[in-house]
Symmetry: C2
Subunit: 149 residues, 2 copies
DNA sequence: CTAAATGCAAATATTTTGCAGGTTA
DNA sequence: TAACCTGCAAAATATTTGCATTTAG
């Protein structure tokens, strides 16, 4: 996956430019463990260059989102999390309220729901960035309560 | 619907108190058109008494949420919206990205998905407060683009 | 009377923006 | 070299909290 290539290509297409900062953010997205907050990515980028600003991270994430290379998802808390959409493309997210883990699964599972919403309500759902809260198998086994807050 | 009764009851159960402010917030939730932000509720409450503070609105909404009388849902934007859970109880929310409208529909539609998640991933989904983005029939007919932001 | 609730103001947290100066193509 | 990008600082937004005072029960 020449992500950098794709990014550079998309940038050029719009008359925008590739910069070291933008490379670093993309690279951080690769190294980070799947879902990261802007702050986490910022910290990671800083290890490479302390001069990069948080606002630049946000601006780059916005671009990557526009290009469809990154998904922005919201778990319960206030922070947005970012995920690199690699070979797998968009998917559905399951967020365990017990342990905080997030799983990405195929959109296929939601096809019946999708059809039902379209047939019954004329509603064309976009489940790509939807995050479904709940409890994962382990937490259920542990008898964990769904954290309300 | 003796919502006030239920509220008062729940409060008493925990040694908390009914106050005019809390009544006003609950009342505002009734009058407001289904989904309201804290700010909207605040404005409405202020028409009755200008002395009520926004923080009190938030505190009351938190209580109502704990009591399961109110659902807090997140549409794309940063603001949380609150909805009174009346006779119908919890449901699934469809948020049109074209016109901003929010529909509440029965959780039934998602039963197959629920089963699939449980069977396939051991994940017990809680769809009560989930908001699904997409396009409603009207907006699709108008050929509206799903607003990315 | 006393624990709980309120208003106020200030703190937090996250994200966005304006701008002067540096940089990329 | 000209449009773009960056860092910095400050603004904007949404929500939460500490505290002195008031109030419900």
């Amino acid at each position: 996956m020449a992500c950098e290539k794709v990014f550079a290509e998309q940038l050029r297409k719009r008359g925008l430019r590739m910069t070291p900062q933008r490379e670093m953010v993309l690279s951080a997205l690769h190294r980070v463990d799947r879902f990261a907050t802007a702050e986490e990515l910022y910290e990671r980028v800083q290890r490479t260059s302390a001069a990069v600003d948080l606002s630049t991270v946000y601006r780059t994430l916005d671009l990557l989102r526009e290009f469809g290379m990154v998904a922005a998802i919201e778990v319960g808390d206030r922070q947005t999390r970012y995920e690199l959409l690699g070979v797998h493309g968009p998917h559905l997210h399951l967020a365990c309220q017990g342990c905080g883990r997030i799983m990405g699964i195929s959109l296929k599972a939601a096809d019946p729901l999708l059809d039902k919403l379209l047939a019954g309500y004329g509603f064309e759902a976009q489940l790509e960035d939807v995050t479904i809260p709940g409890l994962c198998a382990e937490c259920r086994a542990r008898g964990a309560e769904p954290a309300h807050d």
